[in-house]
């Protein structure tokens, strides 16, 4: 029996019975995707880690409210989106600086100076977007959610999300063109 045979819904059921192991598996299964979104959204790996941890803890506590355990991933992502919003707002209250110095570094990734610089430019361009545009852009183009899924995750309307993605793309094209063109 391979662990991949077990569905999220079965793991949710196990976790609801009070068992730790199934929830551990849910964490292992979803943590990296959540980390990617949070890292791109917050621009800081440690903040991202805390946001993801916070999201899992809230999910653990509210698991009985997950109405469709077979879509646990989507439900969890909605919590994460909210945690990132809260964390972003809190940070702005304390410090107006958006940190770009801690661009996530992944194992096995090219760390040449050129590559690192390009990665930082992208993160800086993202940081210059408003949080709503950044969120919409990441959900659409990086996480590849449909607009309907995005509406569920963010609570915003589909037309509003389409507009945000469009604006975000315009801004990013403009800023990154400056980098590319020198």
């Amino acid at each position: 029996m391979d662990v991949t045979d077990v569905t999220d819904a079965e793991l949710v059921a196990g976790a609801l019975r009070g068992e730790a192991a199934p929830f551990a598996e849910l964490i292992l299964r979803h943590q990296d995707r959540m980390a990617r979104y949070a890292a791109r959204m917050l621009g800081d790996l440690r903040d991202a880690e805390e946001a993801v941890q916070d999201a899992f803890i809230r999910a653990h506590r509210a698991l009985h409210q997950c109405e469709a355990p077979d879509r646990f991933g989507g439900w969890l992502f909605r919590i994460l989106v909210n945690r990132c919003r809260t964390r972003g707002r809190r940070r702005r209250r304390y410090n107006e600086t958006f940190v770009t110095g801690d661009v996530p570094v992944e194992p096995g990734v090219d760390h040449t100076a050129e590559q690192v610089a390009w990665r930082e430019e992208i993160q800086r361009a993202l940081a210059r977007l408003g949080p709503e545009q950044r969120e919409a852009f990441l959900l659409k183009h990086v996480e590849e959610l449909s607009y309907e899924e995005m509406a569920q995750a963010t609570g915003s309307s589909v037309p509003a999300l389409k507009m945000r993605v469009k604006r975000a793309c315009e801004h990013l094209r403009e800023q990154l063109a400056e980098v590319v063109d020198g």
Binding site: V3, A21, I27, D32, R36, K140
Partner: protein, 173 residues
């Protein structure tokens, strides 16, 4: 993806942004630990300890990126030895094809039969046990199917290898 919105530069940026970000296998225990600490003490641990379990698994193959989760549950004072605080630690190993898993360490005289882990149907081969530990630095290992000594893939390793494979370490402060 709505490609028309993306020119070549933006497409390159998106590819970069889609690179995975890994939190590593140490992340899960930290989350579980934090989640447990915010719950009522004992409740989850007692559920876990008292639940009867079945092992539907056969054969011994430790499946790939196996995760062992070590979970700090709660601190409590044992009535019998009030001066020694005890912390309940949940040790978890993912071994989908194992028929039995036990834990050995300086807390059970390294006795391979003393502390079996349990698994539950539908858990994906995740084995678990709660062990009360005193303050200190403890070394341990898992024994799978009575013969294979396996260190905890996510815990720190011991500095010595006196008897072959290194042990894992948990420090209770």
């Amino acid at each position: 993806m709505d490609e028309p919105e993306l020119n070549d530069t933006l497409r390159r940026a998106v590819e970069e942004l889609r690179r995975p970000v890994s939190l590593g296998q140490n992340f899960a225990p930290r989350v579980l630990s934090a989640a447990r600490r915010r719950r009522s003490p004992l409740a989850g641990a007692m559920d876990w300890l008292l639940r009867p379990r079945l092992s539907p698994l056969g054969g011994f193959v430790l499946v790939g990126a196996a995760a062992a989760v070590l979970l700090l549950l709660l601190r409590a004072n044992t009535p019998a030895i009030p001066t020694h605080p005890v912390t309940r630690i949940q040790f978890v190993l993912r071994a989908p094809a194992a028929r039995s898993v036990t834990i050995v360490g300086d807390f059970n005289n390294w006795d391979p039969s003393a502390t079996p882990l349990a698994t539950a149907a539908g858990s994906g081969g995740i084995w678990s046990v709660v062990v009360p530990l005193h303050t200190g630095r403890h070394e341990y290992a898992f024994v799978v199917d009575g013969r294979a000594w396996v260190s905890d893939p996510i815990a720190p390793r011991s500095t010595d290898q006196d008897f072959g494979a290194p042990n894992s370490v948990v420090t209770i402060s």
